[in-house]
């Protein structure tokens, strides 16, 4: 009996929920989700940053008032989150660019058991990204809150 072919590819109906869980995700998939979240966070900050820094055109009093407002601990913590998010996004982005160009993927091999899994072969690179991002976030935390 012939196997019925699907009329069209299955759509990704999970949407944003699928970013969190849709089966057995590996570390790289969660890095992808975090990459998107940090990217959206940094973009949101960039938009606010453009408006906030634009107040310099109105002179020193307007600038001082804006900076005074943004000195609130909540904004300072937000700035820290943006810094930590940027560090992760940059490091993971470099990893993704290498992959896009064909590096960090492993060589194609015949599908013979036990199967070779290109991403898993380069998992230490993904771990390195996580470790460096944590170190960067820690240094930023020391700079902004402890020193």
């Amino acid at each position: 009996m012939a196997i019925p072919l699907k009329a069209r590819p299955v759509q990704n109906d999970l949407g944003i929920v699928g970013w969190g869980w849709a089966g057995r995700y590996g570390l790289e998939r969660y890095l992808y989700t975090l990459h998107r979240l940090t990217g959206l966070g940094v973009l949101f900050y960039l938009v606010l940053h453009i408006f906030a820094t634009s107040t310099r055109i109105f002179g020193e009093p307007a600038w001082k008032a804006t900076m005074g407002f943004l000195h609130h601990p909540a904004f300072r913590f937000g700035e820290y989150l943006v810094f930590a998010g940027f560090v992760f996004h940059a490091l993971n982005g470099v990893r993704l660019i290498f992959q896009e160009l064909g590096y960090l993927l492993g060589k194609p091999t015949p599908p013979v058991f036990p199967y070779s899994y290109g991403l898993r072969d380069f998992r230490p690179v993904a771990f390195l990204v996580v470790v460096l991002a944590v170190v960067g976030a820690f240094v930023a935390f020391c700079d902004m809150f402890l020193v």
């Binding site: 759509q11 973009l43 960039l46 938009v47 055109i57 900076m67 930023a140 700079d143 902004m144």
Partner: protein, 120 residues
């Protein structure tokens, strides 16, 4: 714009932003540790420092290029997310219009402020 070219620019701007945004973040947002090692700015947000940087042609050029690259990279990323969440041929043109109009508006605002501040 062709999708392949748009994606190529996304990678290209991403690489540049690692360097440019890295320098910006370290210089402007980590103003406690770096000055102890003789790097970065001591008080980058004091108005006199802002004034000094805002009247340096190289800084203004850096800011405008940096702004363009950051906005392209950010809004192309937002477009990719929106296209995944609301994927249909009907929404694509609306998403394109939204990201282009917002991106261009912010680019012109940031550029006008930088150039205006440089000239006053």
């Amino acid at each position: 714009m062709k999708e392949g070219l748009g994606w190529f620019f996304q990678l290209f701007t991403g690489l540049f932003l690692v360097a440019l945004l890295g320098v910006h973040m370290l210089g402007m947002h980590m103003d406690t540790l770096l000055p102890r090692f003789g790097m970065g700015y001591k008080d980058p947000l004091v108005f006199q420092e802002v004034l000094k940087r805002g009247h340096a042609p190289l800084f203004v050029a850096f800011y405008v290029v940096f702004l363009g690259l950051a906005l392209y990279h950010g809004f192309y990323g937002l477009r990719a997310v929106l296209m995944e969440v609301w994927a249909s041929s009907r929404t694509l043109s609306s998403i394109n219009m939204l990201v282009w109009s917002l991106g261009l508006f912010l680019f012109f605002l940031g550029t006008a402020v930088s150039v205006g501040f440089f000239l006053v």
